[in-house]
Amino acid sequence: MNIAKQDRRWPDRPDPENIVELRGVRLDYGILNVLHDVNLTIREGETVAIIGPSGSGKTTLLRCINYLARPTAGEVWVDRHLVGQVEKGGKLHPATEGVLRLHRLETGMVFQQFNLFRNMTVLQNVMYAPVACRVTSKEEARDRAVRLIERVGLGGKLSARPHELSGGQQQRIAIARALAMQPKVMLFDEATSALDPELAREVLEVMRELAREGMTMVVVTHEMGFARNVADRVVFMENGRIVEDGAPAVIFSDQAPKRIRNFLSH
């Protein structure tokens, strides 16, 4: 996957420590302005929680990072590659789907509704994409898949189908599936919102472990406990803008701006 060649002459590449860098990202759906001049830098190994009211653009921001949503303007850098654009003759052009697929190998995404492939077993779910995208050989993919599934505590469920698993188990498999692609950064979109507290906890435990191991993570969440205790930084969004970006100790303190305290007190 040598996409480095395509943008090697790009002048203002981000600092190599920055796994994700958003510069002036704007996104409109027709006349609706969903994201407005978003700038965000996430360093290697950091866990950043994104919080904010419903409709503030958290999901959209996450989907811009892997270009499931194409920003109207601005730059998205992941692991020093400009996502969704290619340089041709000194000018930037929108990347084709084929190139976008390569860009998306750098990011893993976990969804609120798990979205496991229902026609496949647990093991197939986890090893399918690495083999299909030719990231690894089949044998290696299988070994890694088995290890990942064991790591999320479901080693006994290799040949189970998604509908035979609880929501929490499905979500842990979904995390393993994303990790199997060896992404540089993991994006979580309200990964526990569809789960009962009991099941949410086992998923949060996996996420906490991942953060501890140094995975770079962007976590959209309503779990303030996770944001406070696990995240290195908390980003607060409102009306398509990042209005606060700081350490949890600051965001969750009495010194935080009033609108954040209002939001948190709900």
Binding site: N66, L68, E97, G98, R101, L102, R104, L105, T107, G108, M109, F111, Q113, F114, N115, L116, F117, R118, N119, M120, T121, L123, Q124, N125, M127, Y128, A129, V131, A132, C133, K138, R142, A145, L158, S159, A174, R177, A178, M181
Partner: protein, 225 residues
């Protein structure tokens, strides 16, 4: 029931049934092969191409197959294009079957939760794999019953080809009756042949469905476990 009369004419009827079988099989194969990829167009997002396709299928579904056949049979020669009856019949029947098949496939594909398509995109999977190995296997059991009943309609619909001189079952039966004025035996025999072919069609489709499910499962196994 005049058995001698029936035995005399049965070979003619069977020969005609063979033409009906060919018309049906060719129409089903062609319309399915063409409709499958087209059914994916516009499913996840509307584009000019998908809108044009929607218009075309709406048009084809509104037109009686008979009108389509007349257009190709009597209309095209005016522009210097002369086709023999059999290809005209296959083209006309296929065109209207395509329109229905696209709708049938789409209703199945739409029933598959789109979150899986999003997940596949996020993983960087190519579109064809997503459709062929993830969405389609889940849509298959959903649209198969509708597809089967439509296939029976295609079989019966081949009788309109009689209008452009194709010697299929209905037209040959009709011809025999108009010469002998003894309709009962011939029409019963024709009806039984249609029923038999319909039954065989259902069985064949059932077998194909089984086979496909197995093959798709094992093709997922090739990359999966």
């Amino acid at each position: 029931m005049d058995m001698n009369y029936l035995a005399e004419n049965l070979p003619l009827l069977l020969q005609a049934a063979w033409v009906t079988v060919w018309l049906t099989v060719l129409t089903l194969i062609l319309s399915t092969v063409i409709a499958l990829p087209l059914s994916v167009v516009g499913l996840t997002r509307v584009s000019p191409a998908s809108q044009a396709l929607d218009m075309a299928t709406l048009l084809l579904r509104s037109l009686p197959t008979l009108v389509i056949l007349f257009f190709f049979y009597y209309g095209l020669p005016q522009f210097g294009i002369v086709l023999s009856p059999f290809p005209v019949a296959v083209i006309g029947l296929t065109l209207s079957a395509i329109a229905y098949n696209i709708e049938i496939f789409r209703s199945g594909l739409r029933a598959v939760d789109p979150g899986q398509i999003e997940a596949a995109r996020a993983l960087g999977l190519p579109g064809w794999r997503t459709w062929v190995q993830i969405v389609f296997p889940q849509a298959l059991p959903i649209f198969t019953p509708t597809y089967l009943s439509n296939a029976t309609l295609v079989l019966k619909g081949t009788s309109v080809a009689s209008i452009i001189t194709i010697p299929e079952l209905t037209s040959v039966a009709n011809e025999i009756v108009s010469m002998t004025y003894q309709p009962f035996e011939i029409l019963i025999a024709a009806a039984l042949i249609y029923i038999l072919m319909g039954g065989v069609l259902s069985l064949a489709a059932q077998a194909v469905r089984w086979n496909m499910t197995r093959r798709l499962a094992s093709s997922a196994k090739e990359v999966g476990a």
